[in-house]
């Protein structure tokens, strides 16, 4: 018998799986099913989002058959099944619910398109159905027509443990959070071939993530926000479970079909949220998002995506889970460090005398929002930090600051513990680099940074916009 473990990629087929059942009076029924999930070597779980004829048949007659398609070879496998039980909690249910909720949220169907149960089936036999396919033509690549993103590393250097060790070393050597994040994203791209990735951290509200670093995008997206529970990344943050979605189009088509059906019938009478634009690659076909947690506390999400629908395999989830744990520990370690290097004598040489541009900064008190030259720059805690630095620099001529003094400043509203200061400074630096490169905040060793200004500042504070 074919091993169930060998069919892992079939459970994410580009063609939806099909389940056939039969009523007690002998009438067969066949319908598409959105999720088939491997449970163990003898069991699979099918998602049940709606109570329907399939459900009724299974209660009358536990026999079923599922056909799944291999997304690469397009061989078909028929799994003979016997219904065992429905689960509404537990690891299998939670894992499936996270995937479905992510798709539902992404298509604006939260609360309507949701998992009722994970139906567990014993797999009684597996048939490979290949007789309807002619043999592949010689020279036809297995992944023909599918884009690939191979790692650029020589094959001999792709050994997983070696790669893990290399990444781990890079992270351990990072002196600060910014270097750590760069090491992680560079390592994922160079060693794994995962060229499109980003790290999001939890903000001070504890209900939102903000992008702090990214690789592989035209726009870095730094500063963009995701609310917990919204979309794929928000779902991972809320549920604190990794989420791997292959064949994104297939899953989205399924979700959108539900949305179109509900909309046309207005059956639910519910108001549906607008579809959330997919952050990152507009044509991503697969995603892997991992929670970054330390001692049960979520610090962020590591999100990867690819145009190849089969980039992320089952083992990547576990393997990158190890990476995610190290990243989370590193973030935690470097975010709370208050160690300071002594003030350095090294200074950036003064810029040659030249006409300086004039930059107009406005701080809006009602939402702690900073605009530069009429364009949005940053808000909330990093907005308050920037305003303090600019004002202090203008009024007192100071150009060097420490993390410690920011932490001790009650006006900035940093929480007493886990203040995210390092990550807010990274965000601030990157936003300034994008929107106002004449103002920089370069690090000056651990716990210390400078304010470098190569423009004439005009600072204006207003109650509201």
């Amino acid at each position: 018998m074919i091993a169930l473990e060998d069919l892992a990629r079939c459970f994410e087929g580009v063609v939806p799986a099909t389940v056939s059942t039969c009523s007690a009076d002998g009438v067969p029924n066949v319908s598409s099913i959105s999720h088939v999930q491997f449970v163990d070597g003898r069991h699979v779980a099918l998602s049940r989002q709606f109570f329907n004829k399939t459900t009724r048949n299974l209660l009358e007659n536990p026999r079923a058959m599922v056909t799944v398609w291999d997304p690469v070879s397009f061989d078909v496998y028929a799994l003979g099944l016997r219904f065992v039980r429905s689960e509404t909690s537990g690891a299998t249910y939670d894992r499936m619910a996270t995937r479905i909720e992510a798709i539902a949220s992404h298509t604006g169907m939260s609360g309507i398109f949701r998992l009722l149960s994970a139906d567990i089936f014993e797999v009684t036999d597996i048939l490979a159905i290949t007789q309807h396919l002619a043999p592949a033509e010689p020279g036809t690549p297995d992944l023909s027509d599918l884009p690939v993103e191979p790692s650029k590393m020589p094959p001999g250097q792709r050994d997983e443990l070696w790669v893990l060790h290399r990444l781990s070393t890079r992270m351990n050597q990072a002196p600060d959070l910014e270097s750590l994040l760069a090491a992680v994203l560079d390592g994922l791209a160079e060693d794994f071939g995962f060229a499109h990735a980003k790290v999001l951290l939890v903000d001070e509200t504890g209900r939102r993530l903000f992008t702090v670093a990214s690789r592989g995008y035209e726009e870095s997206g730094v500063g963009s926000e995701v609310v917990f529970g919204e979309g794929l990344i928000g779902t991972v943050a809320r549920d604190r479970r990794p989420l791997r979605v292959g064949q994104m189009d297939s899953n989205l088509r399924y979700g959108r079909a539900v949305r179109a059906e509900v909309t046309s019938r207005a059956a639910a009478g519910a108001t549906m949220a607008p579809e959330i634009p997919l952050p990152g690659l507009p044509d991503a076909q697969s995603h892997l998002a991992l929670p970054l947690s330390v001692r049960g506390r979520l610090v962020g999400v590591l999100a990867l995506e690819s145009r190849n629908p089969a980039t992320f395999e089952t083992w990547h989830e576990a393997f990158l889970g190890v990476v995610a744990d190290q990243v989370a520990a590193g973030i935690d370690r470097l975010s709370v460090s208050d160690v300071e290097d002594p003030a350095s004598a090294a200074r950036r040489p003064p810029a040659p005398a030249a006409p300086r541009p004039r930059r107009s900064f406005i701080f809006y008190q009602n939402d702690d929002c900073v605009f530069v030259d009429g364009e949005y720059l940053i808000r909330n805690v990093p907005g308050r930090i920037l305003w303090k630095l600019l004002k202090t620099h203008q009024e007192q001529g100071r150009s060097e600051f420490t993390n410690r003094e920011l932490r001790l400043d009650p006006g900035l509203g940093l929480p007493p513990l886990r203040d995210n200061l390092e990550s807010r400074l990274i965000l601030l630096r990157q936003r300034l680099a994008q929107k106002c490169p004449d103002v920089r905040l370069p690090p000056r060793g651990r716990g210390r940074f400078a304010v470098e200004i190569e423009c004439d500042l005009q600072l204006d504070e207003r109650a509201s916009g």
Partner: protein, 168 residues
């Protein structure tokens, strides 16, 4: 192909009828004497006569088990899913027998194959892979249509066409 004026298909809206006769992934479900269901890939559907009968085409290479089941009890169900939209219908009925296929059928299926290749290309199925499908020779299974159900995923999936929505 125009929409029938009688039989269960008469209740289909124009867009659902277009779904039925357009390019789609089809699965034919049958069951054996012990009520074990199974399904295989079907390929092409023609509506016959006044719309109370249809012909389902099945690659001969896949026909052994379903044919055995149909000879046992005649029960059949056909799901029709448009890959690009996941809109779906299910036809239920009983087997009336098989008939010889001819050149007319082969030309019909060749056109159908081209249309489905285009459709599947839009959802990422490589043309080079799909072209391996051995759709001919085909077996023509005659089916008496008894019911048609909307099968598009959603709370109304399983509702009989032409009747108030109710999960069935």
């Amino acid at each position: 192909m125009s929409k029938p004026l009688s039989g269960p298909l008469a209740s289909l809206s124009d867009d659902l009828f277009e779904l039925l006769v357009g390019p789609s992934i089809m699965h034919l479900a049958t069951r054996d004497a012990a009520l074990q269901p199974m399904s295989v890939l079907a390929f092409g559907l023609r509506i016959d006569g006044d719309g109370r009968e249809a012909t389902v085409f099945l690659p001969v290479r896949l026909s052994e088990m379903p044919l055995r089941n149909l000879r046992d009890n005649g029960q059949m169900a056909l799901s029709v899913v448009r890959p690009t939209t996941v809109r779906a219908l299910q036809l239920k009925g009983v087997w009336l027998g098989e008939r010889r296929t001819g050149e007319d059928d082969r030309l019909f299926l060749a056109d159908y194959f081209e249309a489905l290749t285009q459709e599947l290309g839009m959802v990422g199925v490589p043309r080079s892979i799909w072209r391996r499908l051995l759709w001919w020779p085909a077996m023509a299974l005659r089916m008496e249509l008894r019911d048609v159900f909307v099968q598009t995923p959603g709370p109304s999936a399983g509702a009989p066409c032409g009747k108030p929505a109710a999960a069935s």
